[in-house]
């Protein structure tokens, strides 16, 4: 993403970089700025989708706002585009980091012919991109988790060194699919990271009514896999923990149940109204937990990010979102024959 900065801007960045610290919390400034931009861009794209829904231009949107720090921390610890990624519908920031473009996402949101996830067959946020090993999102929750175990098993049988990363919400961990997947992961010591993006709500049901434990990762011991809980509002902490888990998996030393504590800043989806189950006070607390301004502050205080650079990042993200939105809106719909198939592979 930074390769597209124009010549004049590049020299400006270099000037800043000469005086700016090169590392923060043990991570290079370059990486941290990339992570920050990836979070920012995902947020702007997400916000645009909400806007399009409220304008009546799209039928549906489901959001990842509040999950970006966790998703970007994990994505940047992967070999992005090579490691297998089986996302769920909140993983906008993560699929963008792994290879879908903003335009790809918008083509899907508008149901257009060139949507690379499904050619307009699936609802928005049901991502996939074969060329980057981003597998297909389904609406029934947790189905991707035992499939990820199968992807990881195949990788092990083939003697490959790619890991499989899959994500789901904490509510979905109550599905049998999750239990069976972790059983395989433990028995076969699979190169698998099962990421639970725990935002405390299964649509409207709070965690206390979802499970009688405090941490989803407490379940790991029952399957013989590692269990980790990380502050998913902190992209640096998430990155480091994810890197360790992925390294362990890649070295053939087994799977990790990787819980990230995040916040869901929005209703469940465009069709939900969370004022029926979250108070005004809760929403204020939520907003204070937003990982994006927190990370911005952290980088600025350390002198990694300047006001000017942040403004430029913001403008760049908006330009990318504008382009994606306008291009996708003007793009052609699929021919109706596309609805009829093909149903079977040749």
């Amino acid at each position: 993403m930074r390769g597209s900065i124009s010549q004049g801007e590049t020299s400006m960045v270099m000037t800043v970089a000469e005086t700016a610290p090169r590392t923060l919390d043990g991570l290079p400034a370059e990486l941290l700025l990339d992570m920050y931009y990836a979070m920012l861009r995902a947020r702007r794209l997400d916000e645009r989708c909400w806007l399009l829904h409220r304008q009546g231009k799209i039928a549906f949107h489901i959001s990842g706002m509040g999950h970006e720090a966790a998703q970007i921390g994990i994505a940047f610890a992967m070999r992005r585009g090579e490691d297998h990624f089986l996302p769920y519908y909140r993983d906008l920031a993560m699929v963008l980091a792994c290879g879908l473009t903003s335009l790809d996402v918008m083509l899907g949101v508008f149901g257009k012919k060139d949507d690379p996830s499904s050619g307009g067959r699936q609802m928005p946020e049901h991502f996939s991109l074969r060329s980057k090993n981003i597998y297909s999102v389904s609406s029934p929750v947790a189905t991707q988790v035992p499939q990820a175990a199968g992807v990881a098993l195949a990788e092990k049988l083939k003697g490959g060194d790619r890991v499989a990363v899959t994500c789901l919400g904490e509510g979905s961990t109550n599905q049998g699919d999750f239990h069976e997947a972790l059983t395989w992961a433990g028995v076969h010591q699979l190169p698998l990271i099962v990421v639970v993006e725990n935002n405390g709500y299964a649509i409207s049901v709070p965690m206390v009514q979802e499970m009688a434990i405090l941490h989803v990762s407490d379940r790991a011991g029952a399957y013989g896999v590692r269990g980790v809980t990380v502050d998913g509002l902190d992209p640096i902490a998430t990155y480091k923990a994810a890197k360790e888990s992925i390294d362990i998996a890649r070295a053939g030393r087994g799977a990790t149940l990787f819980e990230v504590r995040v916040v869901r800043l929005t209703p469940h989806s465009s069709d939900d109204d969370d004022t029926t189950y979250r108070s005004k006070e809760d929403k204020v607390t939520l907003k204070a937990s937003d990982p994006l301004p927190k990370f911005r502050e952290h980088l600025m205080q350390a002198g990694i990010l300047t006001d000017q650079q942040d403004t430029e990042f913001g403008a760049k993200a908006m330009a990318e979102v504008d382009y994606a939105h306008q291009t996708a809106e003007a793009a052609p719909y699929p021919d109706v024959e596309w609805g009829a198939g093909p149903v079977y592979a040749p």
């Binding site: 297998h84 089986l86 949507d115 690379p116 996830s117 499904s118 050619g119 067959r121 699936q122 049901h126 996939s128 991109l129 074969r130 597998y135 297909s136 389904s138 029934p140 189905t143 035992p146 499939q147 990820a148 175990a149 199968g150 992807v151 990881a152 098993l153 195949a154 990788e155 049988l157 083939k158 499989a164 049998g176 699919d177 069976e180 997947a181 059983t183 395989w184 028995v187 198939g341 093909p342 149903v343 079977y344 592979a345 040749p346």
Partner: protein, 327 residues
Amino acid sequence: MSEKTLIEAIREAMDEELARNSEVFITGEDVGPRGGVFRATLGLFAKYGPTRIIDSPLAELSIVAVGIGAAMNGLRPICEIQFADFIQPAYNQIVNEAARIYYRTGGTFTVPMVIRAPYGGGIGGGLYHSQSIEATYSHVPGLKVVIPSNPYDAKGLLKSAIRDNNPVLFLEAKKGYRLIKGEVPEGDYTVPIGPANVTREGTDLTVYAYGMMHFYCQQAAEEVGKEGISVELVDLRTLNPLDKDTVLNSFKKTGKALIVYEDNRFLGYGAEIAAILADEGFNYMDAPIMRLAGPDVPGVPYSHPLQDWFMPGPKKIADAMRKLAAY
């Protein structure tokens, strides 16, 4: 060429495909050293080892789901469900996932996998070791459903299923595993998924069947043939996608149709055959379309006389043939 049983032919197909393609592996309950509860994988663990023949946890959902994942990552799993009755925990993975992934990704992901399951009654298996599940799964676009009726087809169709780039539900008549015998060539050959097979030429009526019921229909057709009733027998072999041309061509010739299946009668596979004949074969119809099927009760009861009451067999089929011929 030598005579083999249905299950020997199935084992031979898997053995040859495992040898032919390192992408093929088998998983399921007890498929390893035990060789499967019906012995379909007997000897394969010793020959191919634990990375090709993988005993699964006792969990059908993930036998299928792990297969889906492995298939998307370049392998060709053969997933064994111990009895068709136990496949339902995997229904969501088969129907919402395996069957839909090719379509929902615009053809960028394929799921080349086989799900093998023994089906059918008549073996004292009661409600939960006797079920026929083909109608439920044939309803699902994106899934292929195959049921061989003899060892030659079983070997050739299973090889085709393993090489197919789509999920294939391969149902095996457990009653016929050792009862149905036939000539099976040594070495490689395939029978294509899709075409039905006219296994007996006749002029008075057409009988449509598959799997175990096809075996019984052959016996019944022989029996009524002695009385001068000429039965044409169509072995459907592939239930989805269906070979409509062969179905209709036979009906055009005889004008009378009997569909035999052991699944529950109501909305069973025969209902679709009957509907196709009514829609597209009305001008050739000489008699009401008949179905002989299992009764609409929740399962095949265990006790011997009750099981006999439930199951269609050669005698009931011969009676139905006589009735239709006389119309």
